[in-house]
Symmetry: C2
Subunit: 79 residues, 2 copies
């Protein structure tokens, strides 16, 4: 199944959702990466939509962003 | 950040959410795998909680299960 026509790739929509929430919390990439236990360069890639990240890192990011995974994906679905 | 004490791993909770939704739709693993464009053995591993699947396959499975990603993760969060 391909991506929907005219819609950004799920990796890009996820990355934007992370970035928007991170900025709403007033966190830098360094802050969030440390809280989630991931590398800052990895987080930078996630936000740019170039990482096809997996469940375990999705859960870590959601926890560090203080949202449920459902809340994070609501933004991804809407993106 | 480790998994929360006493809580099933996110891979197991995701797998269960997929299985419950698949069965609610009356689909076999073969049906769902074909609809999602993934291998049946891969889907079997997902449902058993042994796959740390990534955003692109999460999106494919949600679409084939006729739910939004947020709806699918609401079940994962609750699991």
């Amino acid at each position: 199944m391909g991506k929907k026509k005219g819609r950004a790739d799920v990796r890009e929509r996820f990355g934007l959702a992370v970035k928007v929430r991170r900025e709403a919390l007033g966190l830098t990439q360094e802050d969030l990466a440390a809280a989630a236990g991931i590398h800052r360069t990895y987080l930078s890639d996630v936000e740019r939509g170039t990482r096809n990240l997996s469940l375990i890192n999705v859960e870590r990011l959601a926890a560090a962003l203080q949202v449920t995974m459902a809340e994070l994906f609501a933004a991804v679905d809407a993106g």
